[in-house]
Symmetry: C2
Subunit: 446 residues, 2 copies
């Protein structure tokens, strides 16, 4: 019999209990032995009271509930600790303590893994303990395992992801209903897809956590948050979402992007371009139809080409599906005494990755200038772009709008250019007396 201890009885935690209850015989057939949910810990006593009577059926009516996680970590009978409280502390202490007690871990904690990858996997390796974390990226979409195992033969050229359900829901609202960011955020909160404090989501930090995990797997190293250029969506103007769609046929998405770039200098060295920001994608792009709370990850490998994974990126049951699948495989390994003999992820501690600074990336850009309505303006702007080696692919000058600040919007899509050149050009243009408002710049991902 494999004993489980669950820390965190929130949305995902109660989803885990529900799956264990509903599919128990199916799961036990896969494991080859009994699964016993021995203890559940939550600091909120009220939640624990909500554990309805029939759920106690799981351990013959004997699930122990506690508000003290140490009762789980220090229980010598417990084989697997399921950490679902999220955040850095006490999650870090719980996981590290459990690992040191030779307990295997299933977690959905992306923030913790992104920030403490080295500490967690080094400690797990030393203690010959497995840490599974499928639910940390894309909820129930099994993309962690796919990248880690199913695509292991490949050198990973790129990873592109719609990794955050909240922002994708907000952007879908802004685009379909032409409403502004604060209104769309409120609707998203009402629909249950944004937290009361949505900062981690809307500033792109949650997506950066997930990208850190995917990139760390792809390059067998630790891609830290500080290596990831991160920009959120709270500054987006619905006008740009509308213009980008109507004039150029682009959808606006918050993307996590990780690419291995071969530099053009004589060494032709490999550098990692890794970033999270709003980006425009063409309507034919497979991500264009990924809407609302859905997530998608597109991985390009040297052998396999493009492979895409798609599913719900939010919701307790979807994430719980990944947690319980992890539990099954941990339990199989424990039952067969193979657990921890091989680490789950390859982590080459000493491996140094070289990152491409954001100024060095080359992509196409959408630009919206706001200027006075006077002859010579376009020539002035395009002149500055040209001096900075930015070449224009297409350009619209809109009729004066009632936008504040009043002015003529000039919309442009550039050919591929270096970001530092674009930024330099914008800085010069924004200093011109003809410019009425800060120029808007959005990266395009073809």
């Amino acid at each position: 019999m494999i004993n489980l201890g669950l820390v965190g009885y929130g949305t995902v935690g109660s989803g885990v209990v529900k799956i264990l209850e509903t599919n128990l015989s199916l799961l036990e057939n896969k494991v080859g032995t009994k699964l016993n949910l021995k203890k559940i810990c939550d600091r909120d006593k009220k939640r624990l009271r909500n554990l309805s009577a029939h759920r106690f059926a799981l351990a013959g009516g004997k699930i122990v509930t506690t508000t003290n996680w140490e009762e789980i970590v220090n229980d010598p009978k417990i084989d697997i600790v399921i950490e679902l409280i999220g955040g850095y502390e006490p999650a870090r202490t719980i996981i590290l303590s459990a690992i040191k007690k030779k307990k295997h871990i299933a977690t959905a904690n992306k923030a913790l893994l992104a920030k403490h990858w080295d500490e967690i996997f080094t400690t797990a390796g030393k203690n010959k303990v497995l840490v599974y974390f499928e639910a940390s990226v894309g909820a129930g979409i099994p993309v962690v395992q796919a990248l880690n195992e199913g695509l292991a033969a490949n050198r990973i050229h790129s990873i592109l992801g719609i990794l955050n359900a909240t922002t994708n829901y907000i952007l879908t609202r802004m685009s379909k209903k032409n409403i502004d960011f604060p209104t769309a955020l409120k609707e998203t909160q009402k629909a249950g897809f944004a937290e009361a404090n949505p900062k981690l989501d809307i500033e792109g930090i949650d997506a950066a956590h997930k990208l850190s995990i995917l990139a760390s797997i792809a390059y067998s190293s630790w891609v830290k948050l500080e290596n990831i250029y991160t920009e959120g969506i709270s500054h987006l103007d619905q006008q740009d979402i509308k213009f980008a769609f109507e004039e150029f046929g682009y959808e606006t998405k918050l993307l996590g992007i990780c690419k291995e770039v071969i530099t053009s200098n004589p060494e032709r060295s490999r550098r990692i371009d890794v970033r999270v920001h709003p980006a425009l994608i063409p309507q034919e792009h497979p991500f264009a139809t990924v809407e609302n709370e859905y997530n998608a990850v597109l991985i390009k490998g040297d052998a396999v080409g493009d492979v895409m994974f798609y599913g719900k990126g939010a919701g307790g049951m979807s994430a719980a599906s990944a947690v319980v699948s992890d539990i099954i495989y941990l339990a199989r390994h424990i039952h067969n005494q193979t657990a921890g003999k091989i680490p789950y992820v390859t982590y080459q501690k000493g491996k140094k990755l070289s990152f491409l600074p954001i100024g060095e990336i080359e992509t196409a850009y959408y630009l919206r200038f706001t200027t006075v309505d006077r002859p010579g303006v376009l020539s002035k702007i395009s002149g500055i772009l040209g001096e900075n080696k930015v070449s224009i692919a297409s350009c619209f000058q809109k009729v004066p709008t009632t936008l504040r600040p009043r002015g003529v919007p000039i919309l442009m899509v550039t050919h591929k250019a270096k970001e530092k050149n674009i930024r330099q050009a914008i800085e010069e243009i924004d200093r011109l007396p003809i410019t009425r408002a800060k120029t808007v710049m959005l990266r395009i991902e073809e």
Copy 2:
């Protein structure tokens, strides 16, 4: 050091050698030890001569080539046998002999697995040997592992797949260019996506092999070919592809479908509805944009909801990606002496599944009647449909065409109906003197 023996040096086999050569250090880092491609067997000596010199670099110039597979299976040094010749024999004998010699297996052989699931996994279990087969479905898309492990927590409600690249390429041609089946087949052969003898592909048998594998994993049993209702695409008329698209907005795809159906009788027992046939899907369906040689699999689990996997379903490198990923994980297990302690797939030998006969399925249908141009025809047809409990959702009567045989096409889409009722109605309608040609029936998958 892990020694590999490769049987079959065709498109996929040479892809495997190429990946081993290109990414060797990356792969060995993941395995934790050296990989040595010791022997390659192919019955065609010419192919073996094509093994260019630089590829011999792999084993320090010492890859042994042979036309006799027994030299691989009987080599006590070889740990993993990679079977890439396809077909039933001698593949079956090679794999079973290798298993009995305690060698682990990586194979792409869908036909063999579908036909000999029981024999292969029973023998593998007895000999504590692993059989990995990621490349057998969807080439490099890691859907076998996802269904088997990443979604293991779920009761699988349904699997929907575009599982065959050849037929998807043909149908894309027929639809985009409005050409007939034989012409599209020729174009597909020219493009390298159909074999000289395309029977297995165009008759839906290859898709049925793959569906047998997915369904067998999903239900921890063996779903045999004879349990799968199978219909190919060679009888499709491009007119119906065109009408379905233009009049009703449907795309035509060859689908593999597997659903767990709860019967409405008092026992409410579970039955498996498993079939391969051309089907119409709405343009909003995520499969509508899966074109040419691409494959996609949509899995619905009780916890995770819908998850989709998408990528190239053909091509030596894509399939080789899956084979080499299998090799990495087999090699890791062998190196850590954990290989074969746990079987890869759960196979409950005695488990009885109950299958839903094709007559009992309930779905919507597209029907094309070809009749004389005379008053009362529509009333007659709709009367017979009504008597058979088939209710019409929409109907178009086209102007007489120059189609052979001449006649008026009447197009209908029905509401959900039982297939045996539809068939009974068609039989009656086709016997009427007003009917000029056999009625066309296509199933709709919403």
